[in-house]
């Protein structure tokens, strides 16, 4: 296997969720169901009292489902369908993690969006003469939104902030690339 294949694989795996938590949860639920059924079968075979219903009773209940009162099957059916959708959606969606790939010469580089955001916030605050705590950056797959709240009495130059953010993003070279939006609040904040 070539090095390119290896990098391709590890990047794909680092940028997407393995869905392990979901798979483990589903497995545990299935195991519990099996253990319950097994316990009922053993109890029935030994002639002890059933926990909820004997396996025979379960079969009989299934056989008479069409004629018994219908509210219970409908409620169970609705719950099952909701659970099914909740499990099926994450199984079929890509599950992108909140990460970006950065350009690297020696290694593949993967960065949490949070780190990019805090670096952008620091530079934006510095360029805009705002306090770092009053600068909020949110990063999604293709956008970086920088919200700057000026310190009262100090002018924030939007172009300076925009330039600083552009410069940083150009240096990071994130994949997928990020388009920046600068929002300067009209009302300032005292102190900070």
């Amino acid at each position: 296997m070539s090095t390119a294949d290896i990098y391709h694989r590890i990047l794909r795996r680092e940028l997407h969720s393995p869905r392990s938590v979901l798979a483990i949860t589903v497995s545990v639920v299935l195991i519990l169901l099996c253990v319950y059924l097994g316990a009922e079968i053993v109890l029935a075979m030994l002639g002890y009292r059933a926990l909820l219903a004997t396996p025979q009773d379960m079969l009989t209940a299934l056989g008479t489902l069409g004629s018994a009162p219908v509210t219970m099957p409908i409620i169970v059916g609705i719950v099952l369908m909701i659970l099914g959708i909740m499990v099926l959606i994450p199984a079929l969606t890509p599950g992108r993690r909140a990460r970006h790939q950065l350009a690297g010469t020696r290694a593949a580089v993967v960065v949490d969006d949070e780190v990019i955001a805090s670096a952008l916030a620091r530079h934006a605050a510095h360029a805009g003469n705002a306090h770092p705590d009053n600068t909020v950056v949110s990063i999604s797959a293709h956008r970086a939104i920088v919200r700057v709240t000026p310190t009262s009495g100090i002018l924030v130059r939007e172009e300076a902030v925009s330039d600083a953010v552009q410069e940083q993003l150009a240096a990071f070279e994130p994949t997928p690339s990020l388009r920046s939006t600068i929002l300067v609040a009209s009302a300032g904040k005292v102190g900070g």
């Binding site: 090095t3 290896i6 694989r9 590890i10 990047l11 795996r13 680092e14 869905r19 392990s20 979901l22 798979a23 483990i24 589903v26 497995s27 299935l30 099996c34 059924l37 097994g38 053993v42 075979m45 396996p55 025979q56 079969l59 056989g63 489902l65 069409g66 219908v70 099957p73 409908i74 059916g77 609705i78 099952l80 369908m81 659970l83 099914g84 959708i85 499990v87 099926l88 994450p90 199984a91 079929l92 950065l102 020696r106 290694a107 593949a108 580089v109 993967v110 960065v111 949490d112 780190v115 990019i116 805090s118 670096a119 916030a121 530079h123 510095h126 770092p132 940083q168 240096a171 990071f172």
Partner: protein, 201 residues
Amino acid sequence: MNDTNRALNRALTAVVGVLALLVGAALIAIGTVPAIAAGYRSTAPAIHDAITGWLKTLPLFDTGTSWGWILILAVLVLFVILLLSFIFRQGRGQEPILLREDPTPAGTTIIDSDVAKQAIQDTLDGRPEFIASRVSTYRVHNTPVLKISVTCRRGVSPREVTSLIQNTLTAFDALLGREIPALIQISGGFRSRMTRTTRTQ
């Protein structure tokens, strides 16, 4: 990085999801659509009788129960074992050997992953930018790959972190005489918010 079988994760959850949807839809249909309920009423007893009849054909000596239940128990146990092995297979794939040279008449050279771990981690641990760092080796497509994960302080530029770690890696390459594929993973994380921030103003 690890060799978790992600396709299997998704396949299992998708199959369970589809089954739950189908059973749920069937239950709702039986409860609400009269035609389906009538159809169910006419066929279910036959299936029910077939199953109980099958259980009766396999009597367990004269205890009044059936071999059939034991068979079902065995299937359940097998299923549970499969699911447990599936759970415990998640997240493995760490590799103890970094490099194994081709044997020469003088012998074979094997370099442990610990060498990389200590050499790289030593350099990174002293840096003020990082709260934590971890170096591990994984096997990807049968090739060892280094993974360097670092947790940064707030506001540290990922660009600087990248070049710092890449320089460390290049130095390690020179030491090793080889270039091992590597992944750098930079995260912020909860701890970086709880510790001292770097002020620049």
